[in-house]
Symmetry: C2
Amino acid sequence: MINTSYKAMLGGKSVIRQLSEYATARKAQVGADHVYDFSLGNPSVPTAPEFTEAMLDLYAHDDPVALHGYSPSLGITQVREAVAASLNQRFGMNYTYEHIFMTSGAAGALSHALRAVTKPGDEVVTFAPYFPEYHPYVEGTGAILRVVEPGEHFQINFDALERTLNPNVTAVLINTPNNPSGVVYSDATLTKLAAILSAKQTEYGHDIFLISDEPYREIVFDGQNQPYPSKYYANTLSCYSFSKSLSLPGERIGYVAAHPQCTDALLIAPICGQISRGTGHNCPPSSIQLGVARVLDKTSDLRVYETNMNLLYDALTDIGFSVERPGGTFYIFPKALEADANAFCMKAKDYDLILVPSDSFGCPGYFRMAYCTTTELVERTIPVLRKFAHEQYGL
Amino acid sequence: MINTSYKAMLGGKSVIRQLSEYATARKAQVGADHVYDFSLGNPSVPTAPEFTEAMLDLYAHDDPVALHGYSPSLGITQVREAVAASLNQRFGMNYTYEHIFMTSGAAGALSHALRAVTKPGDEVVTFAPYFPEYHPYVEGTGAILRVVEPGEHFQINFDALERTLNPNVTAVLINTPNNPSGVVYSDATLTKLAAILSAKQTEYGHDIFLISDEPYREIVFDGQNQPYPSKYYANTLSCYSFSKSLSLPGERIGYVAAHPQCTDALLIAPICGQISRGTGHNCPPSSIQLGVARVLDKTSDLRVYETNMNLLYDALTDIGFSVERPGGTFYIFPKALEADANAFCMKAKDYDLILVPSDSFGCPGYFRMAYCTTTELVERTIPVLRKFAHEQYGL
Ligand SMILES: Cc1ncc(COP(=O)(O)O)c(C=O)c1O
Ligand SMILES: Cc1ncc(COP(=O)(O)O)c(C=O)c1O
């Protein structure tokens, strides 16, 4: 019989998807140029040419039987080695291939990491605003998602965190640079977080794993590097994706990197392998594993995101929006001009401005704009935003 | 904390993998030519050149942003349409894209199909001999796998099936052409199976879905087509993979095709989409979806499997083995020459013959040979098999 719990989930289409479908339909009606669509986090720049070259080379010259053969279930060993070497070089870590588990993007990485270190009934803590898909990732494991209210400048609210932590918490899930806020956790934030989690591990007498969701690791602004969370706390599982940095979201490729000093460090990847046997995921496509392994230190040309961010941030502040300046990603997260972000975004729709209300990010009263678009669209959008804010809210 | 149930599974390395690892080590010792390795079901022929051409064309000429963009979570619509059209043309079905859910190979297809139509505690019936990974696929959903003992010629044992069916059974899992037996279910078998399941649906007052595992659909011998199980029973979910027919096991691509007249036919694909949200699988790689969609009616050059089967079948019968003649796949499943198949295969190892004992297929006393190898290896193996059978068992 049809599984009724999954059937019941069918109503729950994501707000972002709904808006994006509306935008697509609307573009067909009035022309793509007249819809200011900031709904989707789909990279707008092509992948690095080196990736395309690597794939063309693999397809043209490699033995197809080897190229398309079954990958070991934890990932192709030389690919895992290349990932470890690249992380070691960049962040001064000491990963070996045994700490690396290849996944289907960050979604696969998070789902596996969460299952590896929680059991049904455990609590997983995350911080608002957060990526709405954390619900299926966490609840799919049988664990319960607890959300900590936002701190100042969207850093961590440590008082709220301490109130939320309890002995049932076995994992804490962070995302920096953050979708939707664009904020990068500071050195101070990560230092304090590590201290609290270490103390709580001792108090509770069990591990608390830090699951660090890092698909935007490479998209940071002002020439800064973001602090690497694994440097702060040994029980960290770093979850990476090539979706955004190499503009490969459809190819479903990423990894979990287990900190070499975390508890049972050498068991994390094999346990993830057992998990994927049961979910039928198995491993990411072999040719794509081999392709990304050749371009680990390359990215797409990401500069447009910073250009767009600066234009939008300046314009939004100038119009009178209250907004945190993003340190990375391709999102910005201003306060809505009325308490009800849904009502605000509905009004924006009349101007063909497609903005995502913040409620599903666990942080009411804001809206998200995904500026993985052309700069030209951002430039044409600014006067429309201005008109909307003026006509509807007198700014 | 590390999930102890997954940790406990770490010991349980598959017999096939262990043997294959032994074979690889042994080849390094004595030379690849001196090990007669029939352990792994890894296709030995290259993919169809048309697939490679399609991929080279996509990489060379398509807009990389579109090519590598997020696929809709049920699969790219035009790919689903192409799959439906190809099945309709071949089997006289009336699928639309809405019945097709793109997956990571047969593993992904089976795990999703099983989750879609069972709930934890339900029973899923399968038939010995069966693919050992059915355990994680079924048990990963929380359901219980019930195994029906083999019938004559490895067709279905209907008496045993009737004894096993009970109101907790909500799905029946078949695999034809079969791994490990190589046997193709006959028209009579599928007709009778459909009649029994229809009667039991009425008796129990609930659906019993037939999950049809079909990665070897294209590998059939003697110029025959195998009967298409969905033609026999409306509540069928056909689970396909391009791993074997197009020699793409590492690329992780396949689909579930829900029979257009099954219960809730239009909900199966969306429910599979909800399932994949929680497991982090999402969807198969976009470029590979587009690539296979261009070559749906092509296969690798599969003739070597039939050549190898005939050589092996004739030799094994001649030596004195009792063995069913395979109608498809690249497996053959003779009776071992002593009751304990493990002991038999251990002795074979002394001749550097790598044979897989049948216990993990739920059918003690047999062994599997995967002849997805060169014909030259098969030819060199036959005298070794003869020597082994003679020296150890006096044949
Ligand atoms: C914060 C965050 N985590 C995870 C994901 C999932 O990424 P992937 O496409 O690599 O699975 C996304 C995608 O938008 C994201 O924004
Ligand atoms: C009977 C059977 N089912 C399913 C699978 C899994 O296939 P895939 O690689 O497409 O996930 C296999 C692979 O050997 C198989 O033999």
